[in-house]
């Protein structure tokens, strides 16, 4: 599932539903969010659906680019590239997407993090077999791509799930190989920005944030174990949860800006960003 936290509200978007519908337009607190999910690239990204002060909804255009979802906004009919995070055709062409941070993980982990979470219901008004994955062995067969992609890269198996940070044109990918069965934190720098990545292979999540609590300073993060949703602390004694919010410490309620990042199948990052770097590669 894919989770979103805004204020005190947590909401879960099950893959069972996203596999069929691909986009859920929602409002959580005062956040107008479109959870966009492409089953073919395994990418789930939260888009702010308030554009230039106008709230819109996104729909699925029926187009794919590099096997990836092309949503369209209903206010202007413009087409957007999900992984490129920008508008590729229409009135808003060239406009970049503002993303909300999402947590893609298992229901078990999410429930442990946010026991009072709400969950998108299967009562969608549409009659579908939500328990059935509609693409057969697609997500596990690394040789099975339905549509051609521009660049293939065999440094990982094609359907391995990785986290990619897209920072001002530079992209770095983090694989679960660098994480274990405990929360691990990576302090990194990408294209001149300090970023922090937290994850747990066993609990199946990776998240990333810009390492700037809002005052231009840089913190030194380290992992916190068994205190979900808290996953990190810093040299000042703040406790940071998986959504990037300080829940305790001198910076309580401060927020880390989300690094534009998302989980996805490895092949999709390689297809869109052939010049990407892999964390840990020399």
């Amino acid at each position: 599932m894919i989770g979103f936290v805004h204020g005190d509200e947590a909401r879960a978007y099950p893959h069972d539903i996203l596999d069929w519908h691909e986009i859920i337009n929602d409002r959580v607190g005062d956040a107008n969010i479109s959870v966009t999910y492409c089953p073919l690239t395994g990418t789930g990204i939260g888009w702010n659906r308030e554009i230039d002060g106008k709230v819109t909804t996104f729909g699925v255009s029926g187009l794919l680019y590099n096997s990836n979802l092309i949503p369209y906004d209903r206010n202007t009919g413009s087409n957007w590239s999900q992984i490129r995070l920008d508008c590729v055709n229409g009135e808003l062409r060239g406009k970049e997407v503002e993303v909300f941070p999402l947590v893609e993980t298992t229901w078990l982990t999410w429930k442990e993090m946010y026991p009072s979470t709400s969950v998108v219901s299967r009562n969608t008004g549409h009659n579908r077999s939500y328990g059935r994955y509609p693409y057969g062995n697609y997500r596990t067969d690394h040789d099975y791509l339905i549509f051609p992609v521009a660049n293939e890269d065999d440094r990982f198996q094609s359907k391995e799930r990785v986290l990619g940070i897209v920072q001002s044109g530079s992209v770095r990918v983090y694989s679960f190989a660098g994480f274990g069965d405990k929360v691990t934190v990576i302090n990194d720098e990408l294209n001149g920005r300090d970023v922090v990545v937290a994850g747990n292979k066993e609990d199946n999540f990776m998240v990333s944030y810009i390492n700037d609590p809002g005052d231009g300073s840089t913190l030194s993060f380290s992992a916190v174990q068994e205190q979900y949703p808290v996953v990190m602390t810093d040299g000042e004694g703040n406790m940071w949860d998986v959504s990037g919010r300080a829940v305790a410490g001198p910076r309580k309620d401060a927020r880390l800006s989300p690094a534009p990042s998302f989980m996805g199948y490895w092949f999709s990052f390689a297809a869109f960003y052939p010049d990407l770097t892999i964390y840990g590669d020399s």
Partner: protein, 333 residues
């Protein structure tokens, strides 16, 4: 358009996969929406030198969304295939005949969400079938007829049509398959002894599909191999000064899943059983008008598919040459 041109090669239209608005989803359309070639090839046997011609219009309306054999109530998606079919057959001698079938296709797919409609239309020359037939026995001589046929399906239709953005459409919306296929055909009909105007017939059509090796530029695509079995019974009745041939038939069709790059494509293939209550009007001894509605009785599709809701065919048949007095009355759909 610079960026769009750049990405065209790796941009595809996939309304067939999962298309949604805010929360609707749709599955891949099935191969059962295609051009009815293999089901239409093959005339009955005729005397040496007889040329048989037929012009037909075939409508295939798909609006039933199913997973396996379960119907999903969903009125948001429609697919219509209109086919114009020209069929010709020539009897070389008592034992051999050749048949040919050509098609022209209009396809439309409409997806409705709230008040928004997404419509995709294509049209063009479709694929064609040539078939050599071996007439082992003729109904006019023995009371039963047995024919065997085999021939290629020629990829005359285009399989690289694009939409308004110049983006290549998926295989199921192309008028042609882009592949050479092999079609085998067997037909058996037998008159009732006590009522010679009544004829029971059976027909089996197998289709072994080749590969389109230039699908979306770099991939291979093959539609699933299929087999169809027709069982029918028909009679000839006189009403006033007009002669009609009513018939009842069942059609069973099984299709393997399609393949992309050798991988089975989910949400394709399945099996269908349809009921065909047909009637032919014998305008003259060598001219027939026919009307063949086709109603689905049962289907079990692979994964989730849009599957036929209604189908019909109207056609005009004419033969040039000697007329068989005991021509079978079960129209060969």
């Amino acid at each position: 358009m610079g960026y769009l041109n750049y990405i065209l090669k790796y941009m595809v239209v996939t309304l067939g996969i999962l298309v949604s608005g805010q929360l609707p989803g749709y599955s891949q359309t099935c191969c059962s929406g295609g051009v009815p070639l293999s089901g239409n090839i093959g005339f009955e046997g005729a005397a040496r030198g007889t040329l048989q011609m037929e012009l037909s219009y075939d409508l295939n309306y798909l609006a039933t969304l199913k997973t396996g054999s379960e119907i999903y109530e969903d009125g948001a998606r429609q697919r219509i295939t209109h086919s114009l079919l020209v069929k010709a057959g020539y009897s070389i001698n008592h034992w051999f005949a050749i048949d040919a079938l050509f098609s022209y296709v209009f396809q439309g797919r409409k997806i409705t969400f709230d008040d928004q409609i997404n419509q995709v239309d294509t049209r063009g020359l479709g694929d064609a079938v040539l078939m050599a037939k071996f007439i082992l026995s003729n109904v006019s001589e023995t009371g039963s007829e047995l024919q065997l046929g085999i021939g290629p399906k020629l990829p005359l239709g285009r399989s690289d049509l694009t939409n308004d953005f110049d983006i290549t459409l998926n295989a199921d919306m192309q008028p042609g398959s882009g592949s050479w296929d092999l079609i085998s055909w067997a037909y058996y009909a037998r008159q009732f002894v006590k009522r010679p105007t009544t004829v029971a017939s059976a027909r089996i059509v197998g289709r072994l599909n080749g590969k389109n090796r230039e699908y979306l530029g770099t991939q291979t695509y093959s539609f699933g191999n299929s087999v169809q079995v027709y069982l029918g019974i028909g009679d000839k009745v006189v009403w006033g000064n007009m002669i009609f041939s009513p018939s009842l038939s069942l059609r069973y069709r099984y299709a393997d899943g399609d393949q992309i790059n050798g991988q089975i494509l989910d949400n394709t293939g399945g099996q269908w059983i349809n009921f065909l209550p047909a009637v032919s009007w014998h305008l003259r001894p060598n001219s027939i008008l026919h009307f063949v509605p086709e109603l689905p009785l049962y289907s079990d599709v692979g994964g989730t598919q849009l599957t036929p809701t209604f189908r019909m065919q109207v056609g005009f048949y004419h033969s040039f040459g000697r007329i068989s007095k005991n021509k079978s009355n079960t129209y060969q759909l």
